[in-house]
Structure formats: structure tokens, C-alpha cells
């Protein structure tokens, strides 16, 4: 028995030694910190062909893309020139409807700050009696072929995001890059406004009780609404729809929205968004359906364009 053992040890050790010398010699040592990528679904870094392709494309500033982008819109412009004589601008209206049972808004525990005496409930999903979805955003995604400058001029020079009763007011609003944003505090307690935009400068100023508002101005539009938080009161949240043009609207309590003075005649791409779901994927309306990124393509006619009820399935919302 021991004899056998000794032989076996020798064999195993010899095998290990051989493996050590031949098997492992040439490979690079594994990285110490390589995180497990077992979960990564077949994402291999650099499949040589396409990596090389990407590299080659980056080297030469190609103009192809712009051309292809224009091509798609050209088709629609040609066939709609007749409409333009009737009027330059059109209004888009509709109502966003939440389909299915909506959970009741949850009460918020504000006990950390005794100054927050108002009873608050969560505002992340507000559904009216008839299913109207409040605080959803309808915004133009494509660059507008033209902008009604009178409409821009009629917008106020400043918009305010107030901190009142330990919540933001309003919860969702549109801010233009031409407008000044005033971060105001009407409460007897201190707040801070933590803005985390993607394209613009992130700020997080303290707002003193009774202090002057802090001024901010966005320099470029944002593809998705910017979240504003208060770290002193982590339940607080607001969203800013940051735009260069005025073609965005936030739905009212009954889910309705109106975007005025859209350029008529051309096909425009709109996005539907809500904080509880991100893009309103697969929203259905009479005559069409949004894609998985909540994109809706519409040709605006002069006068009023009513989309009617835009139905959104409750399965896309986070509760």
C-alpha cells in the first residue's frame, strides 16, 4: 500500500512538474483584478474584423452619416410640400393613459427633519381617476427644420425650481437653454439641489433657508430629463426637460398635453418619457405605436393634430 502511494506521489509530482514546465510557460500571468465576466453575454473585446473596421472609420472623418440621415427625411418632405401653403405651424395634443391598476402613492417618512411637517406621498407615479398619467414628457427628438421664434420670445426669461414643504415644485418642467434656472428655497430648513446632467456642468449647491436663489443656465440640450435630488432629504426628486427649442410638454393631472407651433409638413420624431419607466416603450395610439425607445414619428398638419389617447401598459413601470 505504502509502496503504491510512493509511486503515485512520484507520478503526480512528475506530472505536475511537466505541466509546470511545458504547459504554463508561455502564457501571460492572469490579471490580479480581472472581475468575473462569466455573466457578460459573449461580449468579446475586439473581434478583430469589426474592431479594425471601427478603427479605420474613426481615422477618416466620414460624411456619409449626415447624408444618410438627411435621405430619410427627404422622402417625406417632397410629398408634403402641398400642405405648407395652408399654414406653417401645427399643434400636437393628446392624452397619455396608464393601462391597468395603478398602485397608491406611498407615504414618505420625513421624520429625519422636524422642519418637514407637511404629509408627503411619493410622486413617481401619479395616475388620475380616468387613467390619465401626470408628469409624462412628450418631446421632439429630431432637430426641428425651423423654430417659431415668436414662441421662443414669449417664454419667460427665468424659470424657478422651488423647494417648498420639503418637495420640489414643480416636479417636472421644461427649461430652455435660453432661460435662467433659479434654484430657490422657500422652506425654513436648508436644502441642496443636486443636478446630474449628462452634457452640462453638474452642480450641487446648498440652498440656505431664506437665502437668495442660486442661478444656473444650461448650455446644451439633454436627450433625457435631468434628475434633481436633495441629499439632505433623499426622498426629494424633480426632473428638468432641457431643450434648445420649445417643443416639449409635460402632461397635466388628466394626462393631457399640448405642444404649440410645431413646424408643419415634415415628418418629425417625438419621444415619450416618464420617470417611472424611462421611455414609454410600445405606447399605442390610434393609427400607430411607439417603438421600444418611446419614439413616435408624426407628420404635423397645420392646425390641431390630436393623437387622442396614448395607451401605456403598466408592465413597463417600476413600482
Amino acid at each position: 500500500m505504502t509502496q503504491l502511494h510512493r509511486v503515485s506521489y512520484g507520478f503526480v509530482l512528475l506530472a505536475a512538474l511537466l505541466v509546470g514546465v511545458y504547459g504554463c510557460g508561455q502564457k501571460a500571468s492572469p490579471p490580479e483584478g480581472a472581475p468575473s465576466d462569466a455573466s457578460a453575454p459573449q461580449v468579446k473585446q475586439g473581434e478583430s474584423e469589426s474592431a479594425a473596421e471601427a478603427e479605420a472609420d474613426m481615422a477618416e472623418p466620414a460624411e456619409e452619416t449626415e447624408e444618410t440621415a438627411e435621405e430619410t427625411t427627404e422622402e417625406t418632405t417632397e410629398e408634403t410640400t402641398a400642405d405648407e401653403s395652408a399654414g406653417e405651424w401645427g399643434t400636437l395634443t393628446g392624452r397619455i393613459v396608464y393601462e391597468g391598476d395603478a398602485p397608491d402613492p406611498q407615504p414618505i417618512d420625513t421624520s429625519k427633519d422636524p422642519n418637514c411637517t407637511e404629509k408627503l406621498t411619493a410622486e413617481n407615479l401619479l395616475v388620475g381617476a380616468d387613467g390619465g398619467l401626470k408628469n409624462a414628457v412628450v418631446m421632439l427628438r429630431s432637430d426641428p427644420p425651423k423654430v417659431n421664434e415668436e414662441l421662443v420670445a414669449s417664454e419667460p426669461a427665468e424659470v424657478t425650481l422651488d423647494n417648498k414643504n420639503c418637495r420640489f415644485e414643480p416636479h417636472v418642467q421644461v427649461v430652455l437653454t435660453s432661460q435662467k434656472l433659479l434654484l430657490k428655497n422657500s422652506d425654513p430648513t436648508g436644502h441642496n439641489s443636486n443636478l446630474s446632467p449628462i452634457k452640462n456642468t453638474a452642480i450641487n449647491p446648498v440652498l440656505a433657508a431664506g437665502g437668495e436663489p442660486i442661478e444656473y443656465q444650461f448650455s446644451s440640450p439633454e436627450a433625457i430629463p435631468v434628475r434633481v435630488g436633495c441629499n439632505i432629504h433623499p426622498w426629494m426628486a424633480a426632473f428638468l426637460v432641457v431643450r434648445e427649442d420649445p417643443y416639449a410638454a409635460v402632461t397635466a393631472e388628466d394626462g393631457t398635453f399640448t405642444i404649440k407651433d410645431l413646424p408643419a409638413g415634415e415628418e418629425l420624431e417625438f419621444r415619450l418619457w416618464h420617470e417611472g419607466s424611462g421611455y414609454l416603450a410600445n405606447a399605442e395610439y390610434k393609427g400607430g405605436k411607439a417603438d421600444r425607445r418611446g419614439t413616435v414619428k408624426l407628420k404635423i398638419k397645420p392646425g390641431t393634430n390630436d393623437l387622442g389617447d396614448i395607451k401605456v401598459s403598466n408592465t413597463i413601470f417600476k413600482n
Partner: protein, 415 residues
């Protein structure tokens, strides 16, 4: 040992075991994608592959880094920090990042090295381009000197040690490599954001204009302009000529006021026991992903939907849950600093504390009381910030901060 071996000998597969264990299949290490973000942004598999390919074309691999001129990075320095640990002549070492950093900060700079889980605080994830302890304005990048200071001094109160014994050239190489990993990570975020913005049927153009000019260049520029974003502590921001006791008293008043609001989080005791339920940006992202997953699982179990929708949602749930299991650390609340201990992660010099209060801490809940932009009015004046600095630095020396003597000693008789 003996029993293990003898047990082993009885089984012939033992040899196979030796073959496997002795010779770990060592493919060269790869950068990995942020799968939590990819699942959250619902980037389909073919586009994930594209993101990985673009990043490899732009930045190379952990063994073979590459940089475009737009980054302003020095490839020679990166080559010294990258690759496997080796030294082919006396005093010349490469693979510095893997030797000194990767076990905590991860090969990709994602803060997911094998030791990360047991550290508190977690190691920095560079990919968001957010760094806490620096001399610049809140959203700005750190300067090279800021990163060098962190490397040389370590971060007090954390697991980050001092690398002061490394030669200057090696510190330089590591600073460059951290910037490289951070630019790569932020470019990845830019790419996945752009992918998430695509409507159905749209493709991201693989062109210089889109990939380099629109996505990479702004990231690189933010690093290049960091030296212009330093918060001065002289001139208008100089410390006022004021008796220390007076300044401390003014600072104390501000600390507990509804103007500066320090006590809201650092507590009325200054022990860091105020608002303790918030997260930093890194943990918040994971916390939100976890909540989103829980909600999706709930929907999957309870809601009615078409077979097609159900399948899509089940796929999303599978991807997100595996990403959270392997590519994320459990979220932890951001606990405000206990100011009575005299431990300051970002440096204990008065100008360090001044900049922390002035600009807040990027990525952390700590907000700013200084002007959000140079020249704009802030919540507090520079003099008021200096008063707070004096008060904060006096806190560890207050009698109440010292443990009472009679409780500190244990008499031998008790044992």
C-alpha cells in the same frame, strides 16, 4: 495534507485535476463592459459587441494600450503601467498597475478587484470620471498633482495606502494610467448613452465625428482643462485676518444654522449621525438597479402580458440579475464624516478642508456652499467658509471628543 494526497491518489482523475489547477487557462486579461449599465440601458447584444469593439479600437487592451492623440495621454507612460508584471533589466519594471492597483481597483478600473468586497469604503471606480479628493471645482477632473498626492499620501481612514516609496517615474506612469482607465470608462458611458438613445432601426455611425469628436474629445478635454479649474485659496479666497477663537465661534454658529446646513448630515453632535440614508453616486446606481430588478421580477410574476413581452422582460431580468451578481458591489449608505475623530480622507491641511466645503465632494452627497461657478454668488462667502474650516478643525480637540479617562483604562485587577 497527507490524507488529501492519499485520497487523491486513489482516484485517477487526480492527474486531470493537477493539469487543470496547475495551469490556469490564462487568456490575456481583457477590459470588461459595465454590464449593470448595459442591462439598465437595455443595449441589445449586437450593440454591446459594437461598444466593446469601438473601445478596443480607441484604447487597446490591458496588455497593449493604445491612445488617440485627442486624449493627450503619453503612450510610453501607459506601456510602463500596463501589461503583466515584469522586469527585464535592473530598475526597469512594467506592469505597475497590475502589481500595485488592480487587486482593488480591477483591471478595467471599475473598482471591482478581488479585494474590493471586503473593503470599506470600496475602492474608487474610475469609469464615471468622478474623483472626490482634489483641488478643483466640484464637477472638474483632478489635476495630475491631485492624483499624485493621493498615490503618495494614500487616503487616510481607508484601505488606500501610500506609494511614496515608488520612484517618480513610476508614480507618473500610474497617474497616466488612472487617467487612461477613467477616459476609457467615461467613453464607454458616452457610447452606451448614445446607443440607448437610438430609435429602432437606427445605427450609431462609426465615424470620427460621432465617436471621437462627439464622445471621446469632451471627456479628454475635461481632463486637459483641470489645471484651470483649481479653486484658489489666496487672493479673494484668502483666509481672513481674524482671531482664531472668534473664527471658531462664527464657524460653530454657521455649522448648526439653516444657512450652511452642515449639521443636517454631520449631525447635531458632529459625529456624522445626521442624514445617513443616502448613497454616493456609485452605490446609488446599484441600489436603483436592484430596485428596478425587484420591480421587474414582480411584474413578471404578477402582470398579464403577451408571450413576446414576457420573453423580452425575462431576458432583461436574467441579464440584470447576473450583472448585479458579478459586476456590482452591494450598495452601502454614504455615512457623513464623523468630524470629532480628526481623520480627513482628502487631506488635513486647512486649504484641503476649505476646498471640500467650498465645492462639496463630487460623487458623494456632500453639497457645495461656495459659488457653483467662479464669480457667481455662493451660499456662503469665502470668509464664512474659512470660519467653518476653523470650527471643523477644532472639533477633535473639544473635550467631548476625547474619551473620558476613567473609561479608557482597564485595571489589571479587573483581569
Amino acid at each position: 495534507m497527507r490524507t488529501i494526497l492519499s485520497g487523491c491518489v486513489r482516484f485517477t482523475p487526480c492527474l486531470a485535476l493537477v493539469l487543470l489547477v496547475g495551469c490556469g487557462q490564462s487568456d490575456p486579461p481583457q477590459f470588461t463592459l459595465d454590464m449593470v449599465a448595459i442591462a439598465e440601458k437595455q443595449i441589445p447584444a449586437n450593440q454591446q459587441q459594437k461598444v466593446a469593439n469601438i473601445l478596443e479600437a480607441m484604447f487597446g487592451t490591458p496588455d497593449d494600450p493604445f491612445v488617440l492623440p485627442e486624449t493627450g495621454l503619453d503612450l510610453a507612460k501607459l506601456q510602463m503601467a500596463a501589461g503583466p508584471v515584469k522586469s527585464d533589466q535592473f530598475g526597469h519594471e512594467t506592469g505597475l498597475y497590475r502589481r500595485h492597483c488592480a487587486h482593488c481597483h480591477g483591471t478595467t478600473g471599475d473598482g471591482l478587484g478581488p479585494t474590493a468586497m471586503i473593503l470599506n469604503p470600496y475602492p474608487r471606480d474610475y469609469r464615471q470620471g468622478k474623483f472626490k479628493f482634489k483641488s478643483t471645482e466640484r464637477p472638474a477632473k483632478p489635476t495630475d498633482y491631485d492624483l499624485e498626492t493621493v498615490l503618495r499620501q494614500g487616503v487616510q481612514g481607508t484601505a488606500m495606502p501610500s506609494f511614496a516609496l515608488l520612484p517618480d517615474a513610476q508614480i507618473d506612469a500610474l497617474v497616466e494610467y488612472v487617467k487612461y482607465l477613467s477616459m476609457r470608462g467615461q467613453t464607454e458611458i458616452g457610447l452606451t448613452d448614445a446607443m440607448a438613445d437610438l430609435s429602432e432601426g437606427e445605427e450609431l455611425p462609426l465615424t470620427h465625428d460621432t465617436l471621437v469628436a462627439e464622445i471621446l474629445a469632451p471627456v479628454a478635454e475635461s481632463w486637459q482643462e483641470a489645471p484651470d479649474k483649481i479653486i484658489p485659496t489666496d487672493g479673494d479666497n484668502a483666509k481672513p485676518d481674524m482671531p482664531k477663537a472668534e473664527s471658531i465661534a462664527a464657524g460653530e454658529k454657521l455649522f448648526y444654522s439653516a444657512k450652511a446646513n452642515c449639521a443636517k448630515c454631520h449631525g447635531w453632535s458632529a459625529l456624522g449621525d445626521g442624514q445617513t440614508n443616502d448613497y454616493d453616486d456609485w452605490s446609488k446606481a446599484i441600489h436603483e438597479a436592484e430596485e428596478s430588478l425587484a420591480s421587474d421580477v414582480n411584474t413578471l410574476n404578477e402582470a398579464e402580458m403577451s408571450a413576446e413581452e414576457r420573453e423580452a422582460l425575462a431576458r432583461h431580468v436574467a441579464l440584470l440579475s447576473s450583472a448585479l451578481a458579478t459586476d456590482a458591489l452591494p450598495p452601502r449608505h454614504a455615512i457623513p464624516r464623523n468630524l470629532r475623530q480628526g481623520v480627513y480622507r482628502g487631506g488635513r491641511a486647512p486649504y484641503d478642508i476649505y476646498r471640500r466645503i467650498y465645492a462639496g465632494i463630487n460623487g458623494a452627497p456632500m453639497p457645495a456652499v461656495g459659488p457653483p461657478f467662479p464669480g457667481a454668488p455662493g451660499t456662503l462667502t469665502s470668509d464664512e467658509i474659512w470660519n467653518l474650516v476653523d470650527y471643523v478643525l477644532s472639533l477633535p480637540y473639544e473635550p467631548i471628543s476625547q474619551p473620558p479617562r476613567d473609561q479608557r483604562a482597564v485595571s489589571r485587577a479587573q483581569l
